[in-house]
């Protein structure tokens, strides 16, 4: 697995500089977790890595193996972005639909080959949406929508996975289950995960960064020991949580409300 190196990334919206000369390395095959105050620039950083339009950007995204990142990314946005005209099943197989080539169409290959269909149904089962496979997303609850979006991302099967608060709208138990599921399915993928839950970061991250300040800066990585997903009963984890909370609090002492410039 290749590392992804973000070099001297800068982003500004007009006068407002979100971050400048930011450097970050996503270790190949590892999970990197990103914490940070609201509005500090996490989503923006993710979009920058995914090469999506934003303000005036600068900097380089390099892959260790020399190939460009494009088409090797699965991106899960902060909003669920489910398409209202497709059923849940159709939504989570959107990638397959979009990558259907002219050849596939001309040769009348089925839109969803049986193996893709099976995979989709098995992921839907794992995220607990089997019964919702054939309904439109408008009838889903907030958490169900998020799970559908997660399922879509997991279907993508890309080496680099960028996830923006993928478990934010889920209850504690479902969240733990889906964290385990993600760890299982994204084994050996390079993952960048944004979260607001320090414990989640510590449970899932090989490296845990904290983005803070204005312009935003990254702290040194915290590197919890052991394999992911880690058990929450782990004493090490609790100690690290203390350290992490300290960092978060430190920020809130600097500024009256975290992340706000």
């Amino acid at each position: 697995m290749f590392d992804v190196i973000i070099q001297d990334a800068s982003l500004r919206f007009g006068n407002h500089c979100v971050f400048e000369k930011l450097n970050l390395t996503l270790k190949g095959g590892k999970w990197t977790c990103l914490l940070g105050g609201s509005g500090v620039g996490k989503t923006s950083l993710l979009r920058l890595i995914a090469d999506l339009p934003a303000g005036e950007t600068d900097g380089k995204i390099l892959c260790q193996d020399g190939f460009p990142v494009s088409n090797r990314i699965a991106w899960m946005a902060q909003q669920d972005l489910l398409l209202p005209w497709f059923t849940v099943l159709e939504n989570i197989t959107l990638g397959q639909r979009l990558r259907r080539s002219w050849a596939d169409i001309l040769k009348r290959r089925p839109i969803l080959p049986p193996e893709v269909q099976d995979k989709a149904m098995s992921i839907l089962e794992k995220v607990g949406l089997t019964e919702k496979a054939h309904v439109l997303p408008q009838t889903l609850s907030g958490g169900q929508r998020q799970r559908a979006a997660l399922a879509r991302t997991l279907m993508e099967n890309r080496p680099l996975v960028l996830m923006d608060e993928p478990f934010g709208a889920l209850d504690a138990i479902t969240r733990l289950n889906l964290q385990d599921l993600a760890c299982e399915l994204l084994k050996n993928r390079t993952v960048l995960l944004i979260t607001h839950d320090p414990l989640e970061a510590l449970r899932l991250g090989h490296d845990v960064y904290h983005l803070r300040g204005q312009p935003a800066q990254l702290t040194d990585a915290i590197t919890p020991p052991g394999e992911i997903p880690r058990s929450l009963e782990d004493n090490n984890l609790m100690a690290l949580q203390g350290k992490l909370l300290d960092r978060l609090r430190h920020e809130s002492l600097l500024e009256p409300l975290a992340g706000e410039q």
């Binding site: 995914a50 991106w75 005209w85 959107l94 639909r97 979009l98 990558r99 259907r100 408008q138």
Partner: protein
């Protein structure tokens, strides 16, 4: 009241309105004949009307089909070849700004007196609402969806097919509703400019002879075509855009 009777009640109401209008304003028959006279004329000329209706209907439907297709294609071109836009838009606008009668000799010269010229006229009348609405729909796709499609590495056509197009459908639907209602006018105007059959021809004939009854009989048939075309289209559109239900009235 049951939904299925409503249209008939409306129809009846309109007839009554028409009748009272004729009576109240003391309309002379050569300006606005009463519904009874018109009905009589319709009965008398039933086969004639039917024959000419078929002609107009075929011009109209063919024009609609081609006009909608052309409109959609143009909208796609405007969206996907943004560089062409400033060059394409003005000629497009000009086709709309120029009254067809001025173009008629040219069209007749190129397309003759047959079906073609009427179809072309219908296309000219309807394609603009379709282009405008479809184009407005296509160019305002939610950016998040497009971003997602980009990261998924979708090809342009697939993105259009699966995202942009369905997202534009509600807007296109408005354009189609307008197109369907004005299509008969296109066909009729085409017939005025040169034809030997069709409801428009019948109307001109009747008008030239001051057979106002018969003219209004033809008009009634035309209006009926328009209205039923609208309701059919409306129903189809609702069926095909189920994810955009009407929201509450409060």
């Amino acid at each position: 009241m049951k939904d299925s009777i409503k249209p008939f009640v409306v129809l009846l109401g309109l007839l009554v309105l028409w009748h009272t209008l004729v009576i109240a304003f003391d309309m002379p028959g050569y300006i606005l004949p009463g519904p009874v006279d018109v009905a009589k004329s319709m009965a008398e000329n039933a086969s004639l009307l039917w024959e000419h209706t078929l002609v107009t209907l075929s011009e109209m439907l063919l024009g609609l089909l081609l006009g909608v297709l052309l409109g959609i294609v143009l909208a796609l071109v405007l969206v996907y070849f943004a560089a062409l836009r400033p060059w394409l838009l003005p000629p497009l606008l000009i086709t709309q700004a120029i009254p067809v009668f001025a173009l008629a000799p040219i069209l007749m010269l190129w397309f003759g007196y047959g079906l073609t010229s009427k179809v072309v006229m219908t296309i000219l009348v309807i394609f603009f609402p379709v282009v405008t609405c479809c184009y407005d729909g296509l160019r305002h796709t939610h950016q998040g969806w497009l971003d997602m499609a980009q990261t998924m590495g979708g090809n342009r056509f697939a993105i259009l097919r699966n995202i942009r197009w369905p997202a534009a459908l509600p807007a296109l639907a408005s354009g189609l509703r307008v197109a369907v209602v004005v299509a008969p006018i296109g066909a009729v105007v085409g017939e005025w400019v040169g034809s030997s059959a069709g409801l428009g021809y019948l109307m001109l004939q009747a008008n030239a002879r001051l057979w106002v009854d018969q003219m209004f009989a033809a008009l009634t048939v035309l209006a009926f075509c328009s209205v039923s075309l609208y309701y059919t289209t409306d129903r189809l559109l609702r069926r095909f855009i189920p994810w955009q239900p009407e929201t509450s009235q409060e």
